[in-house]
Symmetry: C2
């Protein structure tokens, strides 16, 4: 196993130490806890707090989005494991600036359970919370069981929209409403080419045939919806977009943001080749792309593959998407 690390059991703590040493201008730990990251920018009293939590192993997701204009706090667990409800509650308390806290996360079992408990604890103390579970992955469950769908790269758009709305001093209700609106218009689907290695396990967590790819595989290796022979970039682009359009039609004249997210080991060249085809198909349908996001946003360490996310935009969402943000891994300085 070739992972550049020290002891496997220190993988997450040492990653967090790296973040803190590199980006102390933008982020800080809560009480030296190497599992709870907070924004280091001066937050205005009365701003709604935006927090998330989840397993490690997905950088830049989630830790990389803590900072001005996006997340106020993020609690992480071990690789692919939820943090405890206690850590979540500590984080929520630290991110309550007097107007409540929005908990925005990926609809995974452990995170759901722990966030529910954390919210109960802090509400008992008088902190108002709202919960929004991101469910953008169309491959993770059918349209009849939407509540079982998982959150994947579309969470980045949710963080951006929620963070921007909070930055404008909107109320917890307003921030939640805009975030729900964005998520109603967000769909993702991925394709995996190779597995990843969980440090403490030390070997690939699953296997994919030498000439095969798995469409719809989850970011922890959850089974996809079909195993196919390796195909061209144009075919992959067409299939992924079709799966999204089947779930969420987009009309000509509409505007979308598109994210081509590398899962870890896929070269930027290949992401751009896929973007090229997506852009061309959208152009044929007279759909315009606004602020494409191409790169690594939500990974599974060294997994090869990519995901496509489409976010339908209106004037409100466009304005929130382009507003300034400054976090270790997401910077936006549009006016």
């Amino acid at each position: 196993m070739k992972k550049i690390m020290n002891k496997a059991e220190n993988f997450v703590d040492e990653t967090m130490e790296g973040i803190i040493l590199a980006y102390a201008d933008r982020v800080k730990l809560l009480n030296n806890d190497r599992r709870i990251l907070l924004t280091n920018s001066s937050v205005r009293k009365g701003k709604v707090g935006i927090v998330t939590a989840g397993g490690s192993g997905h950088l830049p997701m989630f830790l990389g989005y803590v900072g001005q204009g996006m997340l106020d706090g993020c609690a992480v667990g071990n690789v692919f494991a939820s943090p405890s409800s206690k850590k979540m509650a500590d984080m929520i308390r630290a991110c309550d600036y007097g107007s409540g806290v929005l908990c925005l996360y990926g609809n995974y079992g452990g995170d759901n359970m722990n966030f529910d408990m954390a919210c109960e604890m802090v509400e008992f103390e008088g902190i108002e919370t709202r919960t929004i579970r991101v469910r953008d992955d169309v491959a993770s469950s059918s349209r009849n069981t939407l509540d079982k769908r998982r959150g994947v790269a579309g969470m980045v758009y949710a963080f951006k929209i929620a963070g921007a709305a909070a930055e404008q001093m909107m109320s917890l209700d307003e921030v939640s409403k805009l975030t729900e609106k964005a998520l109603k218009s967000t769909r993702s689907v991925g394709v995996a080419l190779s597995p990843c290695i969980v440090p403490e396990v030390g070997k690939p967590t699953f296997s994919i045939g030498e000439d095969e790819i798995e469409i719809g595989m989850g970011i922890h290796g959850e089974p996809g919806i079909e195993v196919s022979k390796m195909m061209t970039a144009d075919e992959i682009a067409r299939i992924l977009l079709e799966k999204i359009f089947n779930d969420m039609p987009v009309q000509g004249e509409e505007e979308v943001s598109v994210m081509i997210n590398g899962l870890g080991a896929t070269p930027m060249e290949e992401l751009l080749i896929v973007y090229r085809k997506i852009h061309m198909i959208l152009a044929e349908k007279n759909i315009k792309v606004y602020m494409p996001h191409i790169g690594e946003y939500a990974t599974s360490m060294e997994m090869a593959g990519l995901s496509l996310t489409v976010l339908k935009l209106d004037a409100d969402l466009k304005s929130l998407l382009r507003s300034p943000a400054s976090t270790p891994f997401y910077t936006n300085y549009n006016k």
Copy 2:
């Protein structure tokens, strides 16, 4: 072979099409030539042009740095192959705004030969040029044969410094002098864990043992200086930093920028774990880190591994490093 592409012979052209479709606000092609990328920002008359060229397969290097505050133009060849002298000359002509053009590139045989020819062509037409070959890779040749050293990730710092100086309307002499100063203070060294696949070749270009790593391997798979058994992140950090310090001593109280550059398939978590140790060793020596760069800056497609670059800073270089830039893959909005 699992590469997300269409025909191998279209890999570079389709990558470039992806860039143009995604980032038309910042970059454009010269006369529809899918091998010559130019900045799309309005350039002031009299600004020195900054250009580079090289083989494809290293994104974000080189194309990703074309834009405001960095490169004015970039010509690319096939994967790992130099573009022609004719394309370079076309690019130089397009990037001459009346005060000459700095050609800043990586000291590879084909690029050297073709840039020399291109400069001869355009100088005959009255365009003044300067050439600076980046030679930051300490592993690529000994101190006695400095002129044989290759340029690797340190080129990104050179593009940033040169671009910022040109943006301040300095003369070709001044821009060149500051860039030379930065490069005198820049050293890199890398470590490779796995090979990459050149699309038209279709299989790994070299092999590294299952439990081995190669220190000093070049970004095209050029042989390194030693093959070692896999080691811990802390050991890798210590060895790479030692190789740089042996070549370029850094004193306590000095300030440096540090780049931890992923070669393509290495997870961000692992880059941060290495940064952590580098930061700690530097802190022990009382050396401060300014604007660390951690991520993928110069890759070899799906190669696993990383490189370390250290840039010693003074007040001039700090100011140029932090000045604004806006390119598809490098954004800086510090004042």
